[in-house]
């Protein structure tokens, strides 16, 4: 074989293998999370849960109809600029670009709304993000799934009403909304103000500057206000600091209700005894006694392939939340394949259809081994939220105990607010509303 023949043969081989690579049955999902910095406990736990779920699906089922999941990690540090950079880096990854993105930051979600829409890549913000994006007619590629902040907030007020003996008993009560001074923290102010008018309670919003490790002034104000409830809308170090400050201010922890980003083990353990009795909302629960988690242990950890260095975190709130992220991602791809071709890699646009037609009912969750692990979920073109329920859990000093069943949010209040806010956004941006009756 002379040199020319060899070169041609090699080129053909490379071309063939390249072509084969392009045809590889893979589904790429960016893992744009954070493993360092002040919010690393949340980022690393959720990333671990999601990636482990993909590993389990690949190992147990060979992927979805033979299409295996791949991922690439990008460190966002919970920083908007870094989040956008990671998005740009991952959006064109072979074979079909990013399937969808979990930005894991309300700020980054806001930064990606227009980009994701233009690039036809779904931005999935499970339990965070821009609430009015639940109106899929205005935000076709944004999915604030499962339960939005506004829905959660109405469930919290409902919980307070239950504790008070009825919603009418909330009249004259005082509530302090202690929030992280960021896009995330401010998200629920409008709905709380609206509910205060409806139920006649008094709400005071107190901002805590980033990162939240100094709160003496805020708790001094809380002491003066003497509220019946404090809503803790924290993130990272703000949460244990709030609980410790509450203890120092003599405020009962049983009257503090945290958002789900304030309700993980990492939020209460650093506070020690000060966290006992504290209540937090959740759209997923902790524990490894679920079939889905056991499958991860069997197919991933038993083979020494787990993502978490500290295996004791498997089954924690953040880890399980990451598994929920994994479930909705995998099932959206599966749904998309049903329409666009089983065994094919799906594009972002196709996965968007999969998300809008996702129906994770009780029976389906049972098949996934996730009964009680997460709530049933049904999305549509109109409704990108899909769930809207909340469970409440209480910290006993060593573990979270679920103290309620799923509590439905007040959609009669939330949905009109979502549509009004989305319509305002559409007007500002000159967006024509999609006609959902034409979406099949």
């Amino acid at each position: 074989m002379n040199r020319t023949t060899l070169a041609i043969t090699l080129a053909a081989a490379v071309g063939f293998s390249g072509g084969a690579f392009a045809q590889a049955k893979e589904q790429f999902v960016p893992a744009n999370f954070y493993w360092v910095g002040p919010y690393a406990p949340g980022g690393s736990g959720i990333a671990g849960g999601m990636i482990d779920y993909f590993k389990m699906i690949n190992a147990r089922d060979g992927g979805v109809n033979g299409v295996k999941f791949t991922w690439e990690k990008c460190e966002t540090e919970y920083n908007n600029a870094r989040g956008v950079e990671c998005y740009e880096r991952s959006k064109k990854h072979p074979p079909t670009g990013a399937t969808l993105i979990h930005p894991l930051s309300t700020g980054i979600t806001y930064s990606l709304i227009e980009k994701g829409t233009a690039d036809k890549i779904p931005i999935v913000s499970v339990g965070y993000g821009r609430t009015d994006a639940a109106d899929g007619r205005v935000f076709p590629y944004i999915f604030p799934m499962i339960t939005t902040y506004w829905s959660q907030n109405t469930a919290k007020i409902k919980f307070m009403g239950m504790k008070a003996g009825g919603m009418d008993k909330l009249k004259g009560k005082k509530i302090v909304n202690l929030y992280h001074d960021s896009a995330y923290g401010k998200e629920t102010i409008p709905v709380l103000d609206a509910q205060a008018k409806i139920y006649g309670f008094q709400v005071t919003h107190l901002a805590v500057p980033h990162p939240g490790n100094e709160q003496q002034a805020q708790w001094l104000q809380i002491r003066q206000i003497r509220p019946d409830w404090v809503i803790l809308r924290g993130w990272g170090v703000m949460n244990p600091t709030a609980l410790k400050s509450a203890q120092r201010a003599g405020y009962p922890r049983e009257q503090i209700i945290g958002v789900w980003w304030s309700g993980a083990e990492e939020d209460v353990i650093p506070a020690g005894d000060a966290a006992k009795g504290y209540i937090a909302a959740g759209f997923n629960v902790s524990g490894s006694n679920y079939a889905v988690v056991k499958d991860i242990e069997k197919h991933v950890y038993a083979k020494g392939n787990g993502e978490m260095n500290d295996k004791s975190r498997v089954g924690s709130i953040y880890y399980n939340r990451g598994v929920v992220f994994g479930i909705v991602t995998v099932e959206a791809v599966r749904k998309a394949q049903e329409r666009y071709g089983k065994g094919k890699s799906m594009t972002g646009e196709q996965v968007r259809w999969g998300l809008e037609n996702l129906d994770l009912n009780e029976g389906y969750l049972k098949k996934l081994g996730a009964t009680g692990f997460m709530q049933p979920l049904k999305l549509s073109c109109m409704d990108h939220e899909g769930g809207g329920q909340v469970k409440f859990q209480q910290w006993d000093g060593t573990k979270w105990n679920v103290i309620t069943d799923w509590i439905a949010s007040d959609q009669s209040l939330v949905r009109p607010m979502i549509e009004a806010s989305a319509a305002q956004y559409a007007k500002e941006k000159g967006i024509t509303l999609r006609d959902c009756s034409k979406e099949k």
């Binding site: 002040p38 406990p41 002034a217 500290d310």
Partner: protein, 281 residues
């Protein structure tokens, strides 16, 4: 509490004329090392001793690897080196011990003393008193050390002029190694106090940023200034948050301290207790 962190800055500045940006990372590194050892079953006092040894070795290593090659360089060069050091220490801490937050119980109650709360309405805990006591002891010890010991005087000479100090026979390498080791000890104390209050986690590094207005107010080279500055900044930012905050939407304490420092700079650039620098032109 702020003063405990500010003390570490003053120490380095007094001895080398460098603003050590890495002091916050040192606080984090010390606290994380200590709590990780305790969680692995090491006895409290032994863990304290090991962490102290680690901080002393770290201080000496910083002198040898980072500072020694930069002797006689302008202060801004040394300052930039400490910024780089910050990132190295933050990364190293998380690489070695992970990024999970930890609780730290020093066995001192952090709940308001009931009798005091009832009689005066003031919510002060045993922990507050303990932290104040620690700060007072550290200040007194450092003040005596700088004023009356041979090494202390040598440190001040080095801060004034590296070359002149070397010329009169002061061993610069040893002096810097000592002072960085002592700064490591101060970082450990500050880390334990802040860690016990808010948990040991990455956010400890941000506390260092609060020390900057404290130092501007009190004077970069004054141990007493660190204490007085800490008290003034701590009290004024809290009062501002309570009384001015509601008028402007709240959340102002993070930057209000810098406003005070800025105003103070205009009136008294050297700080309350800082040494006034007069240059011959």
């Amino acid at each position: 509490m702020y003063s405990l962190v500010a003390l570490g800055f003053v120490l380095i500045y007094k001895a080398s004329g460098v603003f050590n940006f890495a002091q916050g990372a040192m606080v984090f590194f010390a606290a994380l090392t200590f709590v990780s050892l305790v969680e692995r079953g090491v006895n409290f006092w032994l863990a304290l001793l090991i962490t102290l040894a680690v901080m002393v070795v770290l201080g000496m290593a910083i002198e040898k690897v980072v500072l020694r090659p930069l002797v006689n360089q302008p202060p801004i060069t040394l300052f930039m080196a400490t910024i780089g050091l910050t990132f190295v220490l933050e990364g190293l801490s998380q690489l070695a011990w992970g990024s999970q937050p930890h609780g730290l119980d020093l066995g001192i109650k952090d709940v308001p003393m009931e009798w005091l709360a009832q009689s005066t309405g003031m919510f002060i805990s045993q922990f507050d008193l303990f932290a104040s006591g620690i700060a007072a002891v550290l200040v007194a010890s450092l003040a005596l050390f700088f004023q009356y010991t041979r090494i202390g005087r040598a440190l001040r000479a080095v801060a004034d002029d590296h070359q002149a100090a070397q010329a009169v026979g002061i061993p610069l390498k040893n002096i810097w190694a000592i002072v960085w080791a002592v700064a490591g000890f101060v970082a450990l104390v500050a880390g334990l106090m802040w860690g016990a209050r808010n948990g040991v986690q990455y956010a400890l590094t941000f506390i260092a940023l609060k020390a900057l207005p404290v130092l501007i107010l009190g004077g970069f080279d004054s141990v007493l200034g660190a204490i007085v500055g800490g008290l003034i900044i701590g009290a004024s930012e809290k009062l501002a948050e309570v009384y001015i905050g509601p008028m402007v939407g709240g959340g102002i304490e993070s930057w209000f301290a810098y406003v005070i420092a800025l105003l103070f700079l205009l009136v008294r650039p050297q700080g309350l207790f800082g040494e006034k620098i007069i240059d011959r032109v």
